[in-house]
């Protein structure tokens, strides 16, 4: 529980003076994500910059230091019957909210409750000039100035050191229940999308090993009435299933084979590929394990209206994120330069050229 913003700022300024590059580390739980950096870097630890700065349950707004562990945040919210509806994954023992935002990671509820980016209301960050800046705010609606806060989602720290984050929080649903049934892979995508198009309290839709899992959350009456109407058996211990899915603890995720993440049109039909699949987000997120090369997978993702990235394993010295067209790459380089003119932060972590 300490405010070390000043120290962080001093470290950035010193690195700038000494021509050092910085590897920003929150809890270190996502160090496997992104590229292996080719240049020597010094670790900048944000994990000690932690603690809840402000929390007003009735406002549905929480402000925390970026190094605060997710477990601490969720425990505090739970006392008030609230939670983070984007269901941040735990990819290690020490996931922080800063890393979660920087990597834009959200759990199974994402299509219905939005992503971490959707819940962000404001951030404070230290840019490459060592300036500690504040963007957005602690209110739900704020369109003054460019949306620098949400720009950070997925930037993987390449634009600055996040020090503080304000988020929208939500009441926990009164009831939750999961329906499970057998379904062939060629039927499941249409089925999940059809269910998602009904005005029912769906909050999760996953397919794995020949079974489709639909989660309902909300008012008890709504959840129970929907379960009556829809097919499938009510699952015992479903909480554990969704948690394991969120945290990549299901058997599918075990082992060292490359793990690819497709983010595509939810209704897309992907061509058959040698390997194993898990479908989440009612079809909008698909995990693939198999031997395939990047250009082939990128073409498949493009045809499906989306992108692919090498989430875990494989060659992390090459590009691991979906190819960017020239005009967008140029824009991102200029943007990076506008925040971090000396290229201090996480050089090459996101793309080799950034």
């Amino acid at each position: 529980m300490a405010d070390i913003a000043q120290q962080l700022q001093d470290r950035v300024l010193a690195a700038r003076d000494q021509g050092q590059k910085l590897n920003i580390v929150g809890g270190g739980s996502k160090s496997f994500l992104g590229r292996q950096m080719a240049v020597a870097t010094t670790n900048l630890h944000v994990g000690e910059h932690r603690g809840i700065v402000e929390y007003h349950p009735v406002e549905l707004v929480l402000t925390v230091r970026a190094g605060t562990p997710l477990t601490e945040i969720e425990a505090t919210l739970a006392e008030q019957g609230q939670g983070l509806h984007f269901e941040p994954p735990r990819l290690g023992a020490s996931d922080t909210i800063g890393g979660t935002l920087a990597c834009n990671l959200s759990g199974p509820a994402r299509p219905w409750s939005g992503s971490v980016r959707d819940q962000v209301l404001g951030v404070r960050l230290i840019n490459g000039k060592g300036e500690h800046l504040k963007f957005g705010g602690q209110v739900m609606k704020n369109v003054a100035g460019f949306d620098v806060s949400r720009l950070q989602a997925g930037a993987m720290g390449t634009l600055g050191v996040l020090t503080e984050i304000s988020l929208k929080v939500m009441p926990q649903p009164a009831a939750t229940l999961t329906l499970v049934q057998d379904m062939a892979p060629d039927q499941v995508v249409a089925y999940m999308n059809a269910r998602a198009a009904e005005p029912k309290p769906l909050s999760g839709a996953c397919w794995r090993d020949g079974k489709v899992y639909l989660r309902l959350s909300g008012a008890r009456s709504a959840v129970e009435a929907t379960a009556e109407k829809w097919t499938g058996t009510v699952m015992d211990g479903d909480d554990g299933f969704w948690r394991q899915l969120r945290d990549q603890q299901l058997g599918f995720f075990a082992g060292d084979d490359p793990l690819w993440r497709f983010s595509v049109r939810s209704t897309a039909t992907l061509p058959p590929l040698e390997g194993d699949w898990l479908i989440d987000w009612a079809g909008a997120q698909r995990w693939y394990r198999g031997a395939a090369d990047t250009p082939q997978l990128e073409q498949i993702a493009r045809d499906a209206g989306g992108q692919v990235s090498l989430f875990r394993g494989g060659d992390r010295r090459g590009e691991v994120m979906h190819h960017q067209p020239d005009a967008l790459a140029a824009l991102q380089k200029r943007l990076k330069h506008s925040f971090d003119p000396d290229g201090l932060f996480n050089p090459g972590r996101l793309y080799s050229w950034l």
């Binding site: 504040k134 704020n142 369109v143 003054a144 620098v148 009904e198 008012a219």
Partner: protein, 491 residues
């Protein structure tokens, strides 16, 4: 930005007419007149030219030519903006997207709509209705405003608390850069790799590029929606009731508040059956499955009574629900009827500050000698104070602006912001200096330069120059300062 290489209107028009229907390259004053302002009609400027391209390729050529000659470009949707964001630049081109009014595709299974930027907000939900779907964000101007304008302003509506702002309901945007390049931000999937450029472009007020296509998410139309209307004898009690509902775990589809002045004006206008003697009115819409709505409506009614409501009544059918909303959605024109002119402010505050802010505002109303009526997106803390004035009385608009500035300053002081949904534009450019430090504003300028180094896209809007900020801050410490916003237009 002051010494742009000069290219005459006639030369430029001739070049545009090589590839755009000459009728849609407008250079005569009379035909250009309707473009001189947006919904914020106190700020006017005549442009050099107005063009209405019909294809993306034409937009790209317009941009390339303007970029080559460094001619300012102001994109324009329906011109309903309330911060003078679409006000023309005197030496620039207004690029109207009015011809881009086609819904390109609706995918009912994927629940998306692909739209040209000039499609009206309401037209999306109308077209999606046959599939049992609708588009979430519903600004009160939805009959007229365009999806391109909504993206540029990150517009909200009365259903934001539950369904989010424009930024939460977009998948993919095609944008033409200042150099005339076509870029795609976002995708048909939910997340993309790398920094979130789609979020950055949303709400960027035409400063980063021209939006030429938008793919939005559609939502299943709720089975049922009902509105509970509750009257209160004090604003404080109504404010507490808002907190009470949310603390109870109910997230209403819409949660709106009006003060006494707005209640009477709106009721006169819409005959909505509002409790005219109430000091504050809450409209709380609950939507969802039939069972859920039943459960939540009963809880909301009981809670409001418990928290001191003087009247509680619930819509029994769609007609009653529509009527209750009609009063709220026509609150602006309704107030327009009780005063020759009104000025709509747009600050957001933490909800717990509501009673304090409204009390302060009453005091300021006396001090400035101007009436104020309040409508309020209570669920998300977005205030719309409407200051009533008469532009024909010398000095009254200046006083109105000073009052408005004082309100926005108060919003920032209590932890809020100067604009929740209408944008900065020209109108609130000086108040940016209350919310942001010079270093933050400098970062905005650097960011803008990454997209538009020569400052051709909507110059003089959104972010004040640092030089003016110092002057604003100095001027604001003097009472009744005159009009630095005017100078900012050319800044």
């Amino acid at each position: 930005m002051t010494d742009r290489p000069h290219v005459g209107a006639a030369d430029l028009a001739a070049r545009f007419r090589e590839f755009i229907d000459p009728e849609f390259v407008i250079s005569d004053a009379e035909t250009m007149k309707p473009y001189e302002c947006d919904g914020m009609s106190m700020y006017c400027e005549m442009p050099m030219l107005v063009v209405l391209p019909e294809t993306v390729a034409q937009v790209q050529r317009v941009m390339r030519i303007c970029h080559q000659h460094q001619v300012p470009v102001v994109a324009r949707g329906a011109g309903t903006g309330l911060s003078a964001g679409a006000m023309p630049h005197a030496d620039g081109v207004v690029l109207s997207l009015a011809k881009f009014n086609r819904i390109l595709d609706i995918d009912p299974l994927a629940r998306t709509a692909r739209l040209q930027p000039g499609v009206r907000n309401l037209a999306i939900s109308e077209a999606a209705a046959e599939f049992g779907l609708y588009y979430g964000p519903d600004p009160s101007s939805q009959i007229a405003c365009t999806i391109g304008g909504n993206v540029a302003e990150n517009s909200g509506g009365v259903h934001c608390l539950k369904y989010g702002l424009t930024v939460h309901n977009l998948l993919r945007v095609e944008m033409i850069t200042v150099e005339g390049e076509r870029v795609v931000l976002g995708s048909e999937g939910l997340d993309v790799c790398g920094m979130d450029l789609l979020a950055l472009a949303t709400g960027s007020e035409g400063l980063l590029g021209v939006v030429t296509e938008v793919t939005v998410k559609l939502l299943p139309t709720p089975e049922r929606a009902q509105v509970v209307m509750a009257g209160f004898d004090s604003v404080q009690k109504a404010g507490d009731a808002v907190g009470g509902i949310i603390a109870h775990g109910i997230i209403p589809g819409g949660l709106e508040m009006m003060d006494g002045h707005a209640i009477v004006a709106a009721d006169d206008f819409a005959q909505a059956g509002y409790p005219r003697d109430a000091k504050a009115l809450l409209l709380c819409e609950v939507d969802g499955t039939a069972e859920e709505v039943q459960e939540h409506i009963e809880q909301a009614e009981a809670l409001f009574r418990e928290l001191g409501a003087t009247s509680v009544c619930t819509s029994k059918n769609e007609a009653e629900r529509a009527l209750l909303w009609k009063g709220r959605k026509s609150a602006f024109p309704a107030v327009g009827r009780i005063s020759p002119d009104y000025y709509c402010m747009d600050g957001t505050i933490p909800r717990r500050q509501l009673a304090h802010v409204l009390t302060e505002m009453e005091a300021m109303s006396e001090q400035f000698g101007l009436r104020v009526a309040n409508v309020f997106h209570a669920g998300d803390g977005n205030l719309h104070p409407l200051i009533l004035f008469d532009a024909n009385v010398p000095g009254e608009f200046e006083r109105t602006e000073a009052f408005g500035t004082a309100i926005l300053r108060l919003c920032v002081e209590v932890g809020g912001c100067i604009t929740g949904e209408h944008g900065v534009g020209v109108e609130k450019i000086r108040q940016m200096a209350y919310q942001f430090s010079d270093a933050e504003l400098a970062q905005f300028h650097d960011l803008k330069a990454a997209f538009d180094p020569q400052g051709i896209l909507n110059p003089g809007k959104g972010v004040p120059s640092l030089r003016f900020c110092q002057e604003y801050r100095a001027l604001d410490d003097k009472p009744h300062s005159s009009h630095p916003a005017k100078e900012a237009r050319h800044g």
